[in-house]
């Protein structure tokens, strides 16, 4: 328990990669990749195929959403991500060294935790990562077959009519 608290405080105070009011530069992003990639891969298995550039794009989209929010919400989201990281680390060791399957099993347990705060922390982290992954218009079109049709039925017919 003491370890958990100390770990949590350490990350909460020094949360690597996030700085308020500042779009993350490539430096902090590199540090975050190491522990966010396993979390993302556990939540979205297809993310295992992402190269570094694609992963950066996912994280930048997530950042953009976070940086829009009031400072208090931003801070809570960052704490949530670091709490999840700490809880996974507590069970499995450093997150960056884990296989996605091991992380996924741990996350699945946290999802059904008796503590609502832990469930909420996982939900917030999951939402941010999924925003970066599924919210990307390029990926929506290429992988999910979804593209907004501004002209509706007409736009679709124009495209399908030779």
């Amino acid at each position: 328990m003491l370890y958990l608290v100390s770990e949590y405080l350490r990350y909460a105070i020094n949360f690597p990669g996030y700085r308020e009011q500042q779009v993350p530069s490539s430096g902090p992003l590199e540090r975050r990749e190491k522990w966010l990639r396993p979390l993302l891969e556990a939540m979205v298995p297809a993310a295992r195929g992402l190269d570094r550039q694609a992963l950066e794009r996912v994280l930048r989209l997530s950042d953009a959403i976070l940086l829009d929010r009031p400072a208090a919400i931003r801070h809570r989201a960052i704490l949530a991500a670091n709490l999840i990281r700490s809880l996974v680390r507590l069970r499995c060791g450093p997150v960056s060294r884990q296989k996605a399957g091991c992380v996924a099993a741990r996350l699945a347990r946290l999802e059904n935790s008796r503590s609502r705060n832990i469930r909420l922390a996982l939900w917030a982290t999951r939402t941010l990562l999924m925003a970066g992954y599924y919210g990307d218009p390029q990926r929506q079109k290429a992988e999910l077959g979804y593209r907004p049709q501004l002209r509706g039925w007409g736009g679709c017919r124009e495209k399908t009519t030779p």
């Binding site: 939540m43 829009d68 009031p70 909420l120 925003a131 907004p148 049709q149 509706g152």
Partner: protein
């Protein structure tokens, strides 16, 4: 601080504010000055590109993710010219008689509200879409209901020239939706009502408003120079939406004399459910919300509507993660979607308060009745999905959340209330109501039946915060009908 004199100040430009502005516009020709303040900017529909993250950030407060204090429900509402009428699906239901009767307010009859609502339905182009414009996602809902012997009802929607882009919730790129931003506000402005956007009303004193005017999102000035203003108005009408109007009253100290300010908040919490079909389902094209099923609304407190949301919103609103979750998303063009809405109780401890910085905080908890309603709605939706031919259904309150066809006869046991974990199950709400409820006295309400704040004859409220309880239906036409009523009361006073 600059001082501005006005006869009437309106705060907010959504379904309530837009309606009041249009009704009071003829006063301008009689030499009165009517000013409407809107906190957000004017939107140019040509910039609505349908990209969900970009549009959510542009249109919604906190990108559509305004969380209640305990983090279990996200609230979606817009700050901008037209308010949430810019982003709702245009579904237009008449005020439900049983709810208006339950409100039991002297002088407010269902017939009168329905009559007023019908005027706005006509004005705003409300009609049922022809069968040819109903997409497959909606047709599957109807087919599933029919198979079960249930009666799905078609929504009327307020569109003119709808091209079926299906992007209602992200701003119609064809300006087809007839919200107040298209109908009432331009009409009011053409008759001389001044609409000041990027104008945040900070406090309300006796017939005085403290207003902060900012720059447009692109840095250009708006209608007034940026800065602080004191607006002196003989009458003030609050229509800033549930969060906006309530926050302003709280920030201005009205809760000292009106203890009900902020209380009895309801939001009709909702789930998005998805099911995979063996064949592609045309879901992204066509109006997303054309049918509802509400036969168990009185007994089990839920109703179902068709819906369609883009990939991230769908992913977020599904429960869980990993391969099962991903499989649904990978089959996005095979998905049927249903929205489950719960009718939550109006309780005094479900309330809006201010945090230490004076910002709104919604203290709302999913109570056991609401959870039972969401679970009951999930069961009904699962039955519709399977009856319509779905291969698998995502049910947030099932373990595991993915139900295959062999579960169709065990839905009652697979989907259970004890599996509904607040914080894990995504719940969102867009039908915010209450906070400045109408009533008979200042002890348990904020305004009288005409929307006049108890003890303040110069101050009215004209938005969904007036609702004493949840409406148990999509609220837009009822808000307009009530706002119309408030406008009548104000006009009577002006004429007197």
């Amino acid at each position: 601080m600059r001082i501005v004199e006005a006869d009437i100040a309106i705060v907010g430009s959504g379904a309530g504010g837009g309606t009041v502005a249009a009704r009071l516009a003829p006063l301008v020709a009689r030499g009165k000055r009517v000013i409407l303040f809107e906190q957000g900017p004017r939107f140019d529909y040509r910039r609505f590109n349908g990209h969900e993250l970009e549009m959510s950030r542009m249109l919604y407060r906190e990108g559509g993710g305004f969380m209640v204090a305990d983090g279990t429900v996200s609230l979606a509402f817009v700050e901008g010219y037209g308010g949430s009428t810019v982003v709702y699906t245009g579904t237009s239901l008449e005020p439900p008689a049983r709810i208006i009767e339950r409100w039991n307010l002297p002088g407010l009859s269902p017939d009168e509200l329905v009559r007023r609502a019908r005027c706005y339905a006509q004005d705003n182009g409300v009609h049922a879409l022809p069968a040819a414009q109903i997409n497959e996602n909606n047709r599957l809902f109807v087919a599933g209901c029919r198979e079960l012997g249930w009666n799905a009802t078609q929504f009327a929607v307020n569109t003119r020239g709808c091209l079926g882009s299906g992007l209602c919730n992200l701003g119609c790129p064809n300006n087809a939706k007839q919200g107040t931003h298209v109908v009432q506000l331009p009409r009011a402005e053409s008759r001389g009502v001044e609409v000041i956007t990027r104008a945040r009303v900070m406090r309300l004193r006796e017939r005085r408003l403290e207003v902060e005017v900012g720059l447009n999102p692109d840095g250009s000035p708006g209608e007034w120079e940026p800065g602080n203003y004191e607006v002196r108005a003989r009458r003030v009408i609050l229509a800033g939406g549930v969060v906006g109007s309530t926050t302003l009253l709280l920030r201005s100290g009205f809760d000292r004399t009106l203890p009900a300010v902020g209380r009895y908040f309801t939001c009709q919490p909702a789930h998005i459910l998805v099911a995979e079909h063996p064949h592609p389902v045309q879901n992204a094209l066509g109006h997303p919300k054309s049918f509802l099923w509400d036969e168990r609304i009185e007994s089990d407190h839920f109703f179902l509507e068709t819906c369609m949301y883009p990939p991230f919103i769908t992913a977020k609103n599904m429960t869980g993660f990993g391969p099962d979750h991903e499989r649904f998303l990978r089959r996005f063009d095979h998905l049927q979607m249903i929205l489950v809405l719960a009718c939550d109780e109006a309780l005094p401890n479900q309330r809006i308060v201010l945090d230490r910085r004076g910002n709104p905080q919604v203290r709302y908890r999913l109570d056991s009745r609401t959870i039972r309603a969401l679970v009951g709605g999930t069961r009904a939706a699962a039955k519709i999905f399977f009856a319509a031919g779905a291969l698998r259904v995502h049910a947030p309150s099932a373990r595991p959340t993915c139900l295959e066809t062999d579960a169709r006869d065990r839905i009652e046991t697979r989907i259970r209330t004890e599996y509904f974990l607040p914080g894990t199950v995504s719940v969102s709400a867009a039908h915010l109501m209450g906070g400045c409820r109408m009533g008979r006295s200042a002890t348990d309400s904020v305004t009288n039946v005409d929307g006049q704040v108890h003890g303040y004859p110069w101050l009215h409220v004209a938005d969904a915060s007036l609702f004493p309880t949840a409406l148990e239906a999509n609220p837009y036409l009822t808000i307009m009908a009530l706002a119309d009523r408030v406008a009548d009361a104000v006009l009577d006073k002006e004429h007197a």
